[in-house]
C-alpha cells in the first residue's frame, strides 16, 4: 500500500483534436510546465464524449475526468461542444447528487492557441483532486445475498 503522501491523482482527459488537443501540444512544445497526472485520449470533438466514458473512467479508478473542447461558437462541427455541455452538466450534477465529489468531473474550453490555459487547467484540476483524495468510489465489496458463503 502506498503512503497517502506519495499518492498522485490520475486524471483522464478527453481532448477535442481540433482545439484542446492542439492546445496540449502547444503547452508541450512551448515548454509550459503542467502536472504529469493527466492521461490524454484524443476525441474528434467534445461532443463525442459519452457520459459512459466518464463513468467508466471513474469505475476503472481514475481520480478525475477532464473533458475539454472548443470555446462556444468555435466548434469544428458547429454544435458539438454545446451538446457536450448539456451532457456533462447533467452527468456532473446527477453524479454529485449520488455522492460523487463534483471535482472529479471537470470541463474546460481550451483553444489550439491556449497552451498556457491548458497547463493552468491541468494544474488547477490536479490540485483540486489532491484535495479530494483518491477515488475509492467503487472499491467496496458487498454481498447482500450471501453469495460469498460457499458452504
Amino acid at each position: 500500500m502506498k503512503q497517502e503522501s506519495e499518492w498522485e491523482p490520475r486524471l483522464l482527459g478527453f481532448l477535442c483534436k481540433w482545439c484542446s488537443y492542439a492546445g496540449a501540444d502547444l503547452a508541450g512544445t512551448s515548454r509550459r510546465k503542467y502536472p504529469a497526472n493527466i492521461r490524454i485520449i484524443k476525441v474528434p470533438c467534445s461532443g463525442r464524449v459519452d457520459p459512459l466514458f466518464i463513468l467508466k473512467a471513474l469505475r476503472l479508478g481514475f481520480d478525475g475526468v477532464l473533458v475539454s473542447g472548443c470555446h462556444p461558437g468555435e466548434c469544428h462541427y458547429q454544435t458539438g461542444n454545446y451538446r457536450a455541455r448539456r451532457r456533462i452538466a447533467l452527468t456532473k450534477k446527477f453524479l454529485e447528487y449520488m455522492g460523487v465529489e463534483p471535482e472529479r468531473i471537470q470541463a474546460s474550453w481550451v483553444s489550439a492557441s491556449e497552451g498556457g490555459k491548458f497547463a493552468e487547467v491541468v494544474t488547477e484540476v490536479t490540485n483540486e483532486l489532491k484535495e479530494v483524495g483518491p477515488n475509492r468510489l467503487f472499491d467496496e465489496e458487498r454481498d447482500i445475498y450471501g453469495t460469498k458463503i460457499t458452504g
Binding site: L60, Y145, G146, T147, I149, T150, G151
Partner: protein, 345 residues
C-alpha cells in the same frame, strides 16, 4: 411423510432458543427483510419477528444454491501463461429455517438439471451442505397454486424436517435421516400429544383448501405441443409482456445462467450469474436470433416449464409458488395462459 407418532413440538416463544442452539452447528438462514424485500438471510441471533410477517420471500431460496452471481474461478496472467484458482469453500454447514414447501420442491427440480450428465460442483456443494427446515403455509397468497402441481402448503417431500403451525406451537416432524437426527440432537423439544398431532392434521387439511388458484395440468404437455406453432395465440398471450426478467430470475425453478469474464490488470475472474429466456440477447448469435420476437420467448418460458422439462425429467418445472404472478409489473399470469390454451385443431 412425517413420523406421525413421533412428532415433537416447540413453543413459538422458544424459536429464538431453538435457532440459537442450531446456530452452534449451522449458519442459520431465516426469513429477513432488506428494505422491505423478503429473503433468506443469516439470522442475527435474536430477531424472530419474521414469525409475524413471513408468508414467503421475494428472493427465492434458490439464491443460496444458485446465487444471483458467483465467482467460478479466478485467473492470473503471468508472462502470457494463465494460472487458474478456484474459490475456497469455507465448509460451513447451513440450515435454512422456514423454507416453504414450494421452494423446497423447486430445489428437487434444480437438482435434476445440475446432477444431469455432468455434475455442477458449485450448485451441488451448496446443496449437500444445507439442511432444510420446512414450514407449512397457513396463509397462502391468492397467487399460489401449488395444489395444482401435486403439492400442498404442507408438502414435506423435499425438506429434512417439517414444521406445522398449530397455534402457539410448531409441531416438528423429521422427514429425512438428517432431519430426524437433528431432532434427536436438539434439546428442549417436547413430545407432541395426540391431540396436537390431530390439530396439525386439521391445519394441513385446512391449508390445502386455502389455495384457490387452479390450473389443469392433465395432458398439459400435449396441449402445448399441439399449439406450439399457433403464432396468433402466442402473439396475443405475449402482447402485454414487457420482457423483463422478474418472472424467471425470481422463479425458484428457473436455473438459466450466463458466464462472463472480467480481466483487470492481469487479474481475471470468471463469473456466472442468473440469466433469463425473456431477454432477446439470451439466444442471440452474431448472425441471427432464434427468439428475436417476444412471443417466441414467452412460449419458451411456458413450454420449458410445462412441456420440455417434463419430457426430459418427468415432472413439471413449476411448483406453484406464484411469485411470477405477484411480482409481474403487468400482471402477466401464467395460470391464465395455461387455462386458455387453444383446443386441439
Amino acid at each position: 411423510m412425517g413420523l406421525i407418532n413421533n412428532s415433537k413440538k416447540v413453543n413459538k416463544k422458544d424459536i429464538g432458543k431453538l435457532l440459537s442452539q442450531w446456530s452452534e452447528e449451522f449458519a442459520v438462514l431465516v426469513p429477513s427483510k432488506e428494505n422491505g424485500v423478503a429473503m433468506m438471510a443469516r439470522w442475527d441471533g435474536t430477531d424472530t419477528s419474521f414469525l409475524d410477517w413471513y408468508r414467503n420471500t421475494v428472493i427465492p431460496p434458490k439464491a443460496h444454491f444458485l446465487p444471483p452471481m458467483e465467482e467460478m474461478f479466478r485467473f492470473q496472467k503471468d508472462k502470457g501463461s494463465y494460472q487458474l484458482e478456484q474459490p475456497a469453500s469455507d465448509g460451513q454447514k447451513q440450515l435454512i429455517f422456514a423454507i416453504r414447501p414450494c421452494d423446497a420442491n423447486a430445489l428437487a427440480i434444480l437438482d435434476k438439471v445440475f446432477e444431469d450428465a455432468y455434475e455442477d460442483p458449485y450448485y451441488l456443494s451448496r446443496r449437500k451442505n444445507k439442511l432444510l427446515v420446512g414450514l407449512g403455509c397457513t396463509h397462502p397468497y391468492d397467487s399460489c397454486f401449488c395444489t395444482s402441481l401435486g403439492s400442498s402448503p404442507s408438502d414435506a417431500a423435499n425438506v429434512d424436517l417439517m414444521l406445522t403451525d398449530i397455534g402457539d406451537e410448531f409441531l416438528i416432524e423429521g422427514v429425512t435421516d438428517a432431519g430426524k437426527q437433528l431432532i434427536a440432537q436438539t434439546s428442549g423439544l417436547e413430545e407432541a400429544t395426540e391431540a396436537e398431532d390431530a390439530r396439525a392434521k386439521e391445519v394441513k387439511e385446512a391449508s390445502y383448501h386455502k389455495v384457490t388458484r387452479r390450473i389443469d395440468t392433465g395432458d398439459i404437455g400435449s396441449k402445448l405441443l399441439s399449439c406450439f406453432e399457433d403464432e396468433d395465440y402466442w402473439e396475443k398471450v405475449a402482447a402485454k409482456c414487457i420482457s423483463c426478467g422478474i418472472c424467471t430470475l425470481l422463479c425458484p425453478t428457473c436455473y438459466c445462467f450466463d458466464i462472463s469474464d472480467e480481466l483487470v490488470k492481469q487479474q481475471g475472474t470468471r463469473f456466472r450469474c442468473w440469466d433469463s429466456c425473456a431477454f432477446p440477447i439470451y439466444t442471440k448469435m452474431p448472425m441471427e436470433n432464434p427468439r428475436e420476437e417476444k412471443w417466441r420467448r414467452v412460449r419458451q418460458k411456458v413450454c420449458h416449464k410445462y412441456e420440455f422439462y417434463p419430457m426430459n425429467f418427468g415432472i413439471i418445472a413449476c411448483t406453484g409458488c406464484g411469485r411470477c404472478i405477484r411480482l409481474c409489473p403487468v400482471n402477466w399470469d401464467i395460470t391464465q395462459t395455461l387455462n386458455s390454451l387453444p383446443a386441439k385443431t
